[in-house]
C-alpha cells in the first residue's frame, strides 16, 4: 500500500515536471505540505475505553502533495487534480485522491458548447461551512468537517452557456464512496468502516455501476447569482451506518461488517447570492426525496432513509480598519434540517440546526498575514460546539506557514457517535509548512 502510494506521489512530481516548459498548452499549480498535529487530550470515548479499538495516535506527522494540471489546445481541454498523503504513523491516512481527471471538447464564441467525460469534484455550495447542495462526491471524513476533501465522481457532462446563463446535464454512472477515518484516527469513532452499499427501491445493490442523472442551471437575475439543480443519485453526504440483515427463524439479525449505506435520492434545490448594501446575502435550500429502500439495521436501530429538506442562510460583512489598513470579514451562517425528528436529524448530518459565526482578519500586507476564527454552535445541543482558529502568513514567494487549533465540545455517548460526538475530546493544535510551486 505504502509502496503504491509512493509511486503515485512520484507520478504527481513527474507530471508536474512535464508541464514546466514555457509556451506549453499545459499549466500547473499545487503545493507540498508538511503537517504536524497533536491532540491535546487522551481519547476516553466508550469504544476506546471498552477496548473496541486499539491505540489512537496522539500526534501525527504527515506529508501531502497536491497537484492540478490543465491542458488546453484548440477545442480540447483536459484537467487533472488530486493529492496524495503520507502519514508517519497511521498507514490508513496514506491515500491518493483523484479529484478531477477529465477531458472535454468545446466550441467557443458568444455561445459555448462542451461535452466532457472523466472524474470531477462538484462544489455548488455558496456557504462557508454548511453545504446543503453538495451530496455528490465521496468525501474523506478524516478531513476538516466544515469542508471535507472530496473524491472525483465519474461523470459525463454536457454544457451550454450563453452570456451569464449556463445549463449543464450530467450522467453519473459509478458513485464514488466515502473514505472513513481509520479505527486509529482521532477523527473517527474508533470503529473502522470499509464496506459500502447502495440502497435503492430494489433493495441493496451489489452492482457498483448505477446510473445517476443531474441538471444544473446558473443564472444572473436582478444582480443575484442564482443556481438551480435537480439531482438523481446516491447521497454521499448523509449515509446510514449499519449492517446488512438476514432473517433466521423469523428474526431479523445483523450480519457482516459495519457498512456505509448510500440512499438513492431526488434532490431539488439551489442557491442565491446577492449583495444588499454592505451585506453579502446567501441562501441555499434543497429538498431530498429518497427512493424507498429496505430497512437498514443501523447502529441506532432499524431505519430507512427519510426524505427531508435543508436550508442554510448566510451573511457576510466586510469592514476596513482604516488606522491599520486591515480588512475584517465577519460572516454568519445558520442551517436547519426540516421534516425530521430531532433524533433522526442527529443521525442524518453532523450539522442539524447549527449556527456559525466567523471572522477573517486580513492584515493586507506583503506577507498576506491572516487570522481566521470560526465557532459552530449546535442550537439543539447547546453544549456542543466547535471553535476553529488559525494564523497564516507567507514566508516568501514559495513558502507559507499556518498554525491552527480545533476545539470541540461534544458529548460522550454510547454506541456509534452522531453529529459532533465523534469529535469528543479531539481538540488539536497543528502546524503546516507549505511549499507552493
Amino acid at each position: 500500500m505504502k509502496n503504491k502510494l509512493f509511486k503515485s506521489t512520484f507520478f504527481l512530481f513527474v507530471l508536474q515536471g512535464l508541464v514546466l516548459a514555457e509556451d506549453s498548452p499545459w499549466s500547473s499549480l499545487g503545493h507540498t505540505q508538511f503537517e504536524y498535529r497533536r491532540f491535546v487530550n487522551e481519547r476516553d470515548n466508550d469504544q476506546f475505553s471498552s477496548g473496541l479499538t486499539t491505540e489512537q495516535f496522539k500526534e501525527n506527522v504527515s506529508f501531502l502533495h497536491r497537484l492540478a494540471v490543465k491542458y488546453q489546445s484548440g477545442m480540447v481541454k483536459a484537467q487533472f487534480s488530486g493529492f496524495g498523503r503520507l502519514d508517519s504513523r497511521d498507514k490508513e491516512r496514506n491515500f491518493l485522491f483523484v479529484e478531477d481527471f477529465y477531458t472535454s471538447i468545446f466550441f467557443e464564441g458568444e455561445q459555448y458548447f462542451s461535452a466532457g467525460v472523466g472524474h470531477r469534484v462538484y462544489n455548488w455550495s455558496a456557504m462557508e461551512a454548511f453545504h446543503p447542495t453538495d451530496i455528490i462526491n465521496g468525501r474523506n471524513l478524516d478531513s476538516d468537517v466544515e469542508n471535507f476533501e472530496k473524491r472525483g465522481e465519474l461523470s459525463l457532462e454536457l454544457e451550454y452557456s450563453r452570456g451569464d446563463n449556463q445549463f449543464k446535464l450530467f450522467v453519473w454512472p459509478y458513485p464514488a464512496f466515502n473514505k472513513y477515518p481509520s479505527s486509529k484516527s482521532r477523527a473517527g469513532t474508533g470503529v473502522s468502516i470499509e464496506d459500502h452499499a447502495l440502497a435503492n427501491s430494489s433493495g441493496l445493490q451489489t452492482e457498483r455501476w448505477q446510473t445517476g442523472w443531474g441538471f444544473l442551471g446558473n443564472f444572473n437575475i436582478l444582480d443575484a447569482d442564482v443556481s438551480m439543480h435537480w439531482i438523481y443519485t446516491y447521497d454521499r453526504a448523509h449515509p446510514l451506518i449499519g449492517y446488512e440483515t438476514q432473517t433466521i427463524f423469523g428474526n431479523v439479525l445483523p450480519t457482516g461488517n459495519l457498512k456505509s449505506f448510500y440512499g438513492l435520492v431526488h434532490q431539488f434545490g439551489g442557491t442565491i447570492s446577492r449583495p444588499i448594501n454592505e451585506l453579502m446575502v446567501k441562501l441555499e435550500m434543497v429538498y431530498r426525496d429518497y427512493v424507498n429502500a429496505d430497512n437498514i439495521y443501523t447502529t441506532n436501530g432499524i431505519r430507512q432513509f427519510e426524505s427531508h429538506g435543508e436550508i442554510a442562510f448566510g451573511l457576510e460583512y466586510s469592514i476596513e480598519v482604516e488606522s491599520l489598513g486591515h480588512d475584517v470579514t465577519l460572516f454568519g451562517e445558520v442551517n436547519t434540517l426540516t421534516g425530521l425528528k430531532e433524533e433522526i436529524a442527529l443521525q442524518t448530518s453532523v450539522f442539524q440546526k447549527d449556527l456559525l459565526m466567523g471572522m477573517r482578519w486580513n492584515f493586507n500586507d506583503a506577507n498576506a498575514k491572516e487570522i481566521s476564527l470560526i465557532s459552530i454552535l449546535d442550537l439543539d445541543q447547546i453544549s456542543e460546539k466547535a471553535i476553529i482558529g488559525s494564523y497564516s502568513q507567507r514566508l516568501d514567494d514559495f513558502w507559507k506557514l499556518k498554525l491552527g487549533m480545533r476545539y470541540y465540545d461534544a458529548k460522550d455517548e454510547n454506541g456509534i457517535s452522531s453529529g459532533f460526538e465523534a469529535y469528543h475530546e479531539d481538540h488539536l493544535v497543528y502546524t503546516n509548512l507549505i511549499r507552493y510551486f
Binding site: L29, V121, D164, M280, E316, S318, N364, R394, Y436
Partner: protein, 258 residues
C-alpha cells in the same frame, strides 16, 4: 450679414465658455477624456508589480489581465494571479458599473469554487501593495464629482489639473488628477486620505501608442505609487499589452472562471 452673425456667434460661444463653472469644465474634460478613450474594444496584458518597503526590500507579484469594453455600462475585466505561488490560479472578475457598486467574483482554485465578494472594501490594499482596489478598479466618470483646477505642465506634457471626489464610499477625501492634453491619460494623481492629508502620489510613465481601427490610444507601461506617509512604494509595470482584442462576452461570466 455673415460677418455679423459670425461675430454674434463667437460672442455667444465665448460667453458660454466664460460662464462654464470649474465643476462644469471639470466634468466636460472628464467626458472628453472618456470619449477619447472609447473604442479600444478589449485588452490583454501581463503585469508585474514590485513592492518596496520602507527598508528597500523588494517583493514581486505577477499577473495577467483581460478586459472588455462595455460602452453602455462599466467595463469588465479579469485579473489572473500568477505569483506569489500561493495565489497562483486565483482569478478576480469585476463588472464595473456607472451608477452602482461594481460586481466582483473570486475564483479560488484551492476550493474549486467561485465566490461572490463585496466590492465595498475598495480602499483595501491590492496584494499588500500601495495600490488599492479602488486605484485599479473601474473609474467610470459617473462615479465622481469633477472640478477643474488649472492648466499646468508635468514634465513635457501640457495637462489639465482636475479634482475628483468619489460619489460613493472611498478611501480618499479627494484626488488631484493631472491629465495629459495630448494623450488624454492621467500622468500623475495625488491621493488625499480621509483627513484630507496627502497620502500617495501615483506617477504614470512610459506611455505606449496603440492603433485600434482609425483611433490612437495611449496607455502607461509603468505606474509608480509612493506612499508619502509610510514611505513604502510600489511599481506596476505592464510587460505586454494588446488593445483591440475581441474577447467573447462569455469569458467575463462567473461560470467561465473555473
Amino acid at each position: 450679414m455673415k460677418v455679423f452673425l459670425s461675430i454674434i456667434g463667437a460672442l455667444f460661444v465665448n460667453y458660454s465658455v466664460f460662464a462654464e463653472t470649474p465643476e462644469v469644465k471639470g466634468t466636460r474634460i472628464a467626458q472628453q477624456v472618456k470619449a477619447y478613450n472609447t473604442g479600444f474594444i478589449g485588452e490583454s496584458s501581463s503585469m508585474k508589480m514590485t513592492l518596496v518597503d520602507a527598508y528597500g526590500t523588494k517583493t514581486e507579484r505577477l499577473m495577467d489581465g483581460i478586459g472588455l469594453e462595455v460602452p453602455e455600462d462599466g467595463n469588465k475585466f479579469i485579473m489572473m494571479f500568477n505569483r506569489p505561488h500561493d495565489v497562483k490560479g486565483t482569478k478576480m472578475l469585476t463588472w464595473g458599473h456607472k451608477d452602482k457598486d461594481d460586481d466582483q467574483w473570486l475564483y479560488l482554485p484551492s476550493l474549486k469554487r467561485v465566490k461572490r465578494i463585496s466590492s465595498r472594501t475598495r480602499s483595501s490594499s491590492f496584494m499588500g501593495s500601495e495600490f488599492s482596489y479602488e486605484d485599479l478598479g473601474s473609474q467610470e466618470i459617473e462615479k465622481y464629482h469633477y472640478t477643474f483646477l488649472k492648466d499646468s505642465i508635468v514634465g513635457k506634457d501640457a495637462v489639465w489639473v482636475l479634482q475628483r471626489i468619489s460619489r460613493k464610499k472611498s478611501g480618499y477625501s479627494k484626488e488631484i488628477v493631472y491629465i495629459s492634453k495630448k494623450m488624454h491619460q492621467a500622468v500623475k494623481v495625488e491621493y488625499f486620505d480621509r483627513k484630507n492629508e496627502l497620502l500617495k502620489i501615483g506617477t504614470f510613465s512610459d506611455f505606449k501608442e496603440f492603433k485600434v481601427g482609425d483611433k490612437t490610444f495611449f496607455r502607461p507601461s509603468q505606474i509608480h505609487m509612493k506612499n508619502k506617509q509610510t514611505k513604502k512604494e510600489s511599481y506596476f509595470v505592464v510587460l505586454s499589452r494588446q488593445l483591440g482584442v475581441k474577447h467573447a462576452n462569455r469569458k467575463f461570466s462567473k461560470n467561465a472562471l473555473k
